[in-house]
Symmetry: none
Subunit: 226 residues, 2 copies
Amino acid sequence: MSKLLLIDDDVELANMLKEFLTQEGFGVTTAHDGLTGEQYVLAGKFELVILDVMMPGQDGMQTLKNIRQHSDIPVLMLTAKDDNEGRIEGLEGGADDYVQKPCLPRELVARIRAILRRQNSDGPKGNDIVVGQLIVSGERRKVFWGDQPIVFTSTEFSLIEILAKHAGTIVSKEDLSIKALGRSLVKYDRSIDVHLSSIRQKISEASGGVNVIQTIYRVGYQLVRD
Amino acid sequence: MSKLLLIDDDVELANMLKEFLTQEGFGVTTAHDGLTGEQYVLAGKFELVILDVMMPGQDGMQTLKNIRQHSDIPVLMLTAKDDNEGRIEGLEGGADDYVQKPCLPRELVARIRAILRRQNSDGPKGNDIVVGQLIVSGERRKVFWGDQPIVFTSTEFSLIEILAKHAGTIVSKEDLSIKALGRSLVKYDRSIDVHLSSIRQKISEASGGVNVIQTIYRVGYQLVRD
DNA sequence: TAAAGTTTTCAAAGTATGTCAAAATTGTTA
DNA sequence: TAACAATTTTGACATACTTTGAAAACTTTA
C-alpha cells in the first residue's frame, strides 16, 4: 500500500478524493495548507505528494520549491483548468506531473500509478543520475557500477555527484573545490587531484579497469559515458 | 541534441511542430502514419517519440502497443481535446505522458524536457561531430578514425573539436588560442603550431597517411571534408 | 629569384597531474 | 579526556603535458 499525501485547501474535495483513493488501495493523509503539508513531507513516510497549486497562504508552487530543497519525493500537481503557465512552471520546478482540476478520479489514479511505476521500477530511482554503467544516487548518497555498490567517502561522493550532474561537460577544479570542499583552490593545492585519484581507483576496481573520468589539463575533469 | 520522432498524419501541423522543436535544439524526424513510425523507431537512433493518437490506418494506440513490444523508448501522446478515456488507456499502455491537441508548443517542449530529464539525467550522446571518417565526441572527449580510437591530450582534443565544429571553414590561430588555451596569441608563440603538428601526426598514423587539416598561411587552419 | 616572414618538426625546459605515504584533522567510543 | 578509527590534506617523487627555442622547409612579395 503506497502512502500518499494530499495537500489541498478544499476540505470537501480533499475528503472525496481521499475516500476514492483509499478504495483504490492507497493510504491517504491530507493537509489543508502548504506549510503543514511541507512538514508532513519532511516527517517522511510518504511515497508521493498530490499538491494543489491554488491555495490561500503559501501557494502550491512555493510549497513545491520548499519541498524540493529537502526531498526528491514525486509530486503531482493539481492545476486550474487553463493555467498553462502554471503547468510549465510546475514541471520545470520539479513536479513529476500535473492533473487538471476538476479531474476524473480514474485519471488521477492512472497518473499516480504511472509515477509510482517509474519510481519503483528496479534499477535507478527517479532522481538518480545514470551515466553509462555508473549510477549516482543523491537520495541514498550511494554509487553503483551496474548493481554493484562502490563505497565512497563523503567528499568523494560529492565530487562524483557534481561530475555526474555535469556528465559530458568539463567541470573546473575551482568549481569542484568550491562545491565539494567549500573553499577556493589555492596554489599547490592537491586535494582535488588526490580525491579524484581515489575515486578513479575505486571505480576501476568495481568496473574491472574502466576509467570514466577524463583530465582536462590545467582546467578540470569530465565524466564521460563509456 | 536529442533526436525526436514525430508521428502525425497531419502534415502541416507536423511541419510546424518540427520547425519549432528544431529551433529549440532538437533533431526532429517526421513520419505520417503509424506503421512507418514504428519502423523508424525500430531502426533506433531516437530518444523520444511524439505520437498522435488519432490517425487513419493504424491508430496511435495500436502503434504504441507495437512499439512497446520491442522498445522502452519514451512516448509522449498527442490526444484530442476531451479524450479522457484515451489518455488513461495511453498511460496504462505505457505512454510516458500526453499533451492535448491543439497544444502550446512551449508546453510540449517543457514536457519533452521533463521526460528526457527523467530518462537520461543528461543529454544523450548525439552530439558527436562527424567529418568524413573523423568522429569527434565532445561528451566522451574522444576522437575516432572510423571506429579506431585516437588518443589525444586534452589541448589537442580541444583544438580538433573546435576545428571539427567549424569543419569546412577557416579558424584563425587567434581564435584557436583563445578557445583552446584561454589566452591571446603573442608574437613568436608556437604552441598552436606544435599542437597541430602532433594532431596531424596522430590522425595520419590512424588513417594511414591522410591529412585532413589544411594550413592557411598567416591566417589559421581548416578541417577539410575529404 | 632573393629576402622576409611563417610554419613544421624535434628536443629540451617548464609546469601540472598521478600516486603513495606520512601528517593533520575530524569524529567516535571507552 | 584519551585513545582509536576514519578521513582529508600535505609533501615528495614519478609521469605526462605544454611551451619554448632552434633549425629546416615552406610561402609570399618585391
